[in-house]
């Protein structure tokens, strides 16, 4: 029982981590709260539905294309719309909200409100310390870990990754050191959308696909990010796994709504005691 809850929690947690990482990245660098984040998750899933579900493209290829589509969409939207509102927190938020409802309504117009499913590329279960682990969730969690590792290495060693960290820490100094802020903005928005798209694409066979599927993952990303600390990437990792675990325990013992309310209560407690989240930096 305990092992099962732990396994379920970690499996769900890794997807929350990926969603929260992208969200936190955009905030850390552009100071924009991206209300469209869940919609990129939805776009990734829709690409998989189309390529893997109806055209028979191999699953992993479809997932990769789903991620890339979101990344390209993200870069274009950043350049056209968000770039003009950098530094304007309120304006940026409202803009992301507008982009979100546009993406959602385009999906609604194209596919209708009905929920669709994709056949599972993996089936069956395996055992781990007495817990039953479905293969499809295992693959999702494994891919999520690979993505996380790649993202970590990118931030740590790539020039662009280092530049992104510099801008997040101090945009003025970074620009004095010759970091081109425009490139960094576009890259971070693109990468964040890539992460959201990959998460949605990976989860496509696990849940149903519809225009509103992004709302719950986005709400969870919000909760994770406040818990971990806005703009803090280790915080997103810790927060995502914690929320995944607490939800798994509470939804086994009570139900899913109670679990969501409980994670909100946990977040309120954390904000009361550590206002900037578990690993957040103190801001001005």
């Amino acid at each position: 029982m305990i092992q099962q809850m732990a396994v379920n929690g970690l499996l769900a947690g890794f997807i929350y981590v990926i969603m929260a990482l992208g969200f936190s990245l955009i905030f850390g660098i552009m100071r924009i709260v991206n209300f469209a984040h869940g919609e990129f998750y939805m776009v990734g899933a829709v690409v998989v539905l189309f390529l893997f579900g109806s055209m028979g493209v191999p699953f992993f290829v479809a997932v990769l294309i789903g991620g890339v589509v979101c990344a390209v969409l993200g870069v274009v939207l950043e350049r056209l719309l968000f770039r003009r509102l950098v530094g304007d927190e309120l304006g940026g938020m409202i803009m992301s909200l507008a982009v979100g409802i546009i993406l959602q309504s385009v999906a609604l117009i194209m596919f209708g409100p009905s929920e669709q499913t994709v056949q599972r590329p993996f089936s069956g279960t395996w055992g781990l310390f007495g817990a039953v682990v479905p293969w499809d969730r295992t693959v999702v969690a494994f891919c999520a870990m690979v993505v996380l590792l790649a993202f970590y290495l990118f931030l740590k060693y790539a020039r662009l990754g280092l530049a992104m960290q510099a801008v997040a820490q101090d945009p003025d100094t970074a620009s004095l050191m010759g970091v081109e802020s425009g490139v960094v903005y576009a890259a971070s928005f693109g990468i964040a959308c890539l992460l959201a798209g990959l998460a949605g694409a990976l989860m496509a066979p696990v849940y149903t696909i519809g225009p509103y599927m992004g709302e719950l993952p986005m709400l969870k990303a919000f909760v994770v990010v406040i818990l971990g600390g806005l703009g803090s990437l280790p915080g997103a990792l810790l927060g995502g796994l914690l929320i995944g675990l607490s939800e798994s325990v509470l939804s086994t013992l009570l139900d899913a709504t109670a679990a969501l309310i409980a994670s909100f209560a946990i977040v309120l407690l954390v904000v009361l005691t550590r206002p900037t989240g578990l690993m957040g930096r103190r801001t001005r």
Binding site: F27, R31, V33, L81, R84, L85, E89, L90, G91, M93, I94, M95, L97, A98, V99, G100, I101, I102, Q104, S105, V106, L108, I109, E215, L219, F222, V223, V225, I226, L230, T257, L260, I261, F264, V267, L268, V271, L272, P275, T276, T283
Partner: protein, 306 residues
């Protein structure tokens, strides 16, 4: 001068339903009058730099409180209406200090989560709130034995509250309190060094606007006679923001103009319902990029090119 003309136009618009008294026009006018206090509440929050996503939830809390008090306990309508506002305000006083602890973004995220969770409770706690199938049979409004049955009477009720709320919020905007809020928004450090208690002022604004939202919810419940959680969901948040952005988010007059422009839209777009959100989104982008201070800013005398 231009503002005087605008107010005159708004007054004429407000009187129009009585001239062309069809039920349909009264219905739209009543919905505008219900939305104006909400949009103006959000405007005060935007003016202090805090985008609240909790106000639809406050409206819902007020609406359900008002309806349930009348249905289960037989409390008189006016008392229930006020109680709805008070319950919303109590929630704001309890959660305000936590939500407002850090300025800006955390507030948006926390109020968003709060709104979603309050809505989930409305949906899941079916024995009390009726769940997604809704709460039926809310009694009509009555006072001193006089019962409101016509749409036009509800229009007068909603309109009188809308006027009171608008005038109260405008008074706040113009008073020392409004000056304090602008100072806090512009330079918090400096204002605090002069002795302003930033947190207390913000909690005050949050609570006051929550009260207004709660009473609006009650009026909505009495008028429609039926409540379901999706009336207070994410869509309403988007609508209220749209009213502020289209009308002008930096003056209290903005959302009034915005509500008059936006509330009738769904009726005009009836044949293209699925395009409605798309149009809303495009409107938001156009206004954000090209007319940042909304329609009201067109009235202001043009400044020299600088």
């Amino acid at each position: 001068m231009r503002k005087a003309i605008l107010f005159a136009v708004i007054l004429v618009l407000a009187a129009l339903p009585f001239l062309f008294g069809s039920r349909y026009i009264f219905h739209i006018a009543t919905m505008i009058a219900v939305m104006v206090p909400l949009a103006c509440s959000l405007n005060l929050m935007l003016q202090i730099g805090q985008m609240s996503m909790a106000h639809p939830a406050f409206m819902g809390l007020g609406g359900y409180t008002c309806a349930l008090l009348m249905m289960k306990l037989g409390v008189p309508p006016l008392g229930s209406l006020m109680a709805g506002g008070v319950v919303a305000a109590i929630f704001a006083v309890i959660f305000g200090p936590v939500f407002l602890r850090i300025k800006g973004v955390y507030f948006v995220l926390l109020t968003y989560a709060f709104g979603q969770i309050v809505n989930l409770v409305f949906q899941e706690w079916t024995s009390l709130f009726g769940g997604n199938s809704g709460l039926y049979g809310i009694p009509k409004f009555s006072i001193l034995g006089w019962r409101l049955t016509q749409v036009s009477q509800y229009y007068v009720l909603a309109m009188s509250f809308a006027s009171m709320a608008f005038l109260a919020l405008r008074a706040v905007e113009r008073s020392d309190m409004g000056a304090m809020y602008r100072a806090l928004n512009e330079d918090e450090m400096l204002s605090r060094s002069l002795g302003a208690d930033a947190l207390a002022w913000r909690i005050g604004a949050f609570t006051f606007t929550a009260f207004i939202a709660g009473v609006s919810g009650g009026i909505y419940a009495l008028y429609i006679g039926f409540l379901s959680p999706d009336a207070f969901g994410w869509r309403l948040t988007v609508d209220l923001l749209l009213m502020n952005v289209v009308g002008g988010a930096n003056v209290i007059l903005g959302p009034l103009v915005g509500a008059i422009a936006i509330v009738p839209l769904p009726e005009l777009l009836r044949d293209a319902k699925q395009f409605q959100l798309l149009i809303y989104g495009c409107c938001l982008i156009v206004f954000l990029l090209f007319l940042k201070n909304g329609l009201v800013s067109l009235l202001a005398p043009r400044r020299g090119k600088a």
